[in-house]
Symmetry: C2
Subunit: 593 residues, 2 copies
Amino acid sequence: MILRMSSLFVRTLRDDPADAEVQSHRFLVRAGYIRRAAPGIYTWLPLGLRVLRKIEQIIRDEMDSIGAQELLFPALLPRKPYEATNRWTEYGDGIFRLKDRKGDDYLLGPTHEEMFTLVVKDLYSSYKDLPLSIYQIQTKYRDESRPRAGLLRGREFVMKDSYSFDVDDAGLDASYLKHRDAYIRIFDRLGFSYVIVSAHSGAMGGSKSEEFLARSEIGEDTYVRCTTCDFAANVEAVQVPAPAVVAYDDAPAAHAEQTPGTPTIQTLVDHLNAEFPRADRPWAAADTLKNVLMMLAHPDGTREPLAIGVPGDREVDQKRLEAAVHPAEFQPFGEKDFAEHPALVKGYIGPGALGEKSASEIRYLVDPRVVEGTRWVTGANVDGSHVIDLVAGRDFVPDGTIEAAEVRDGDACPQCAARGDDGVLESARGIEMGHIFQLGRKFADALDLKVLDENGKLVTVTMGSYGIGPSRAVAAIAEDTLDEVGLSWPRAVSPVDVHVVAAGKDDALFTAAERIASELSTQGLDVLYDDRRGKISPGVKFKDAELIGVPTIVVVGKGLVDGVVEVKDRASGERSDVPADQVVDHVVGLVRS
Amino acid sequence: MILRMSSLFVRTLRDDPADAEVQSHRFLVRAGYIRRAAPGIYTWLPLGLRVLRKIEQIIRDEMDSIGAQELLFPALLPRKPYEATNRWTEYGDGIFRLKDRKGDDYLLGPTHEEMFTLVVKDLYSSYKDLPLSIYQIQTKYRDESRPRAGLLRGREFVMKDSYSFDVDDAGLDASYLKHRDAYIRIFDRLGFSYVIVSAHSGAMGGSKSEEFLARSEIGEDTYVRCTTCDFAANVEAVQVPAPAVVAYDDAPAAHAEQTPGTPTIQTLVDHLNAEFPRADRPWAAADTLKNVLMMLAHPDGTREPLAIGVPGDREVDQKRLEAAVHPAEFQPFGEKDFAEHPALVKGYIGPGALGEKSASEIRYLVDPRVVEGTRWVTGANVDGSHVIDLVAGRDFVPDGTIEAAEVRDGDACPQCAARGDDGVLESARGIEMGHIFQLGRKFADALDLKVLDENGKLVTVTMGSYGIGPSRAVAAIAEDTLDEVGLSWPRAVSPVDVHVVAAGKDDALFTAAERIASELSTQGLDVLYDDRRGKISPGVKFKDAELIGVPTIVVVGKGLVDGVVEVKDRASGERSDVPADQVVDHVVGLVRS
């Protein structure tokens, strides 16, 4: 198939669009792949649509290869199923809601868990029907507060979402692994740089959750990776390796000291160094144990006070804390709460008023670094007083650990630590391209999806959820592969296989270029042929070719009188002269290699 | 590719869905092709999606073959362009409107003229860029007051819409013909019964407009066709053949007569037959000329009185009148209007107070049957009085003709009349499957789409509009081809090529069926293989096969012991025994024939 620049519905632009924040967006607009229709809403011009369709087809192939079956849900959805799962309300401003002429409520589907669950409930009823994996490639809508970076965070976008349905957890594990393998094949075929990141699934541990991120400094997702091994995880999913237990036989007894006017860690450390200097080294923030109080709001409506102890040199990370307490939510510990717990002295809280050794009945969870034998300076539950040499396991026993302290560059890598290696973590940014996770029974419970098991007993189905955003992938791949002059597509997703440029004015040159384009097309390649005549100079055509970013560019130009044409590799910039009568075989070889 | 009934996401139903009004809808639900998600909104199950995609691909092929280029607009559209063309308001309740979190207005695109026009304006600027045809296959939304018959009139549905852009009318004619030819190829390939119907484009004559209708008694569109020739047209587009001029040299002079109490045609005819009997035959309604008054509201805001004269045996057809006066709209001629035109006597209006021979300056248009020399009984503009023997062309000269009288079965066919043949019209019903029409400069004017012509002068682009509904086509094809036991797809759109049924319990039979399915798949055919074991009887499998409607069914059953399998043609019901070792070649031959 030949697309001719003389008639192709495309116009390249020399200037960057005013609203473009990232380079891939600028190039996608300038090269004529997309146009903005409204904030976060784009029109796909022919070149862009070809890239999108190629990505969708790769995803479809791999979904089909694991036996997932394609169907298609509407985008305009009734309120009722989303009410059953409470998401009609939970989504807040994040979804588009509308009413039909009768006044009935609808939404534009941001995701289709409810619909998938209900259609399986409609059709299936027995364990014999399972396992099942079904998927769709469909347009979704989210009313993002700040649509960003062109296709990267749009309000109308394309998603492949699949769901697996299994009768038990072992089945879910198997379905999850099949999808994971398929995702690896998909991302390998797409031909760009990605990383698989362990993600906290939000649930109470156990269920698996991983994200596929495009490595990119413009990404909105932060994660940490090991500088030594292949470990990568969302900060929510980092499990701090517990240090070895410390011997404390020779530890001095805990002793309370006057530390007036030291409600903060820094004031405390300064006071300690001034009044109670250590012999070996100065006191540091890491020697102190900071105790943070909050109220947990549980889904059943009950409230519970919670105390968290972290080393004084670390902040509590909101996202890690949120993930750790989910499905509960945390709220501030207010004046009224303090009034109800008179043992707690603001600014001077210590384990003495907390945890299982105390009488306060406030649950006390500590950072995994607070292992048995570690010594701490912490609040004495008396205004202006701290305890020194308080030993964990001797003087207090927490109710458990919690992953809530911030993760910092240089922290030990958990995977390395488990192997006895000493890799450390560093933070990085990425673009979320795919997410696979074990959803479990949440939606099946809410919508009553049960099947009869082997014993004729009704059991709730367990589900996995697997998503990829093909429209976002267009931008992420563009971002990963572009250079300073334009786009540079991996072969698998390039709008065409080869770009033939007739560079000059002679008719002979156009005749030769036309013949080459035609023969490449006969060989089954998709060709973009720059057949423009008139005022378009070769320089303009070269610039357009670099901007459009087809991986192989054939220039039919001055060399033709010597029987050669130039073949240029867009990504490396390498050029080679190839005899004109061999160029078709040469290019077919490149594309098929 | 093999789909196995044991794992395919489908369940056939024995009972009709409660909300299904037409047979195709019942079967599409019962055979597991679609499910209703909300009124007029459907989920495509795997079998249904395969049919939809096949139809889309046939359309895409033929659009590409005429050089039309595919792009894709969003469904969520900003208000502004629709305001520029006044359609934000004109659509009334017929579209879905919504607000985003900022309060900005959006709509779900019911059609994309504005977007197509604007994207061409964005990219193109010269006559050298034209002609251009661009299209999309995309999901559209209309808030139908009464969503009907499943996919036939949905609120979320798939459309292929294309637009042509030309610099002049000759270009538009050429683009229109290319699309028309492509549409004929598309509908021929889809393999069902259709008719091309001339349609009134709404505009002031001249510009072409045709509809492609599926012949169907359940269709919502009525049209008329000739019982003799191939003429077919919407009633709005029927041009009444003017009879020959009648000699009136020997006609008596017109004479006013007292006809008290005859404000209606029937009372007038009765009075004439009683008081002024004709010698040759009784007076009939067709002898009278009925004059209807109305006010025209022109788009520029002005109002104009209009009188229409039609033979008394015919009603004025609202749709034909609407089309004839477009873009003006007609309103009743009220008491106030009568007061301003004292020459007009209600119930007794005649040409004497109308038309160019009168002083009233009311424009007077007549049915094309009112040719020179025809004699009429009509109002004398005096209460209780009519004129007899009023001769058109002698006693009154209308200002022109108008196509507003109803079209009736038995009326002369215009095409036959032009050829001197005597075919007559009959009314019929159909389902609108496609519509091609010359849109002209309406949207280009409203949105200022101009290009520089050869002389460097800005000219407004002229557009053609071409639509097909693939999702509606699924239902229309189903409706056209089904029989009493189920669906019966044409090969080109069948979800698979062949349905292999293992009918029995012996393992040998399943082994043979598996081999046949596998070899058919190796030959490139898509196979639905009913591999279900257990309680599913051969009878149930046969019924399912008939319901699902794949054109060729291979039954591997009792005959296998004699080395034969049965090949059944779903549409004709013909069965033949074929040696098991030849069945693959046999079926491949059928599918490829």
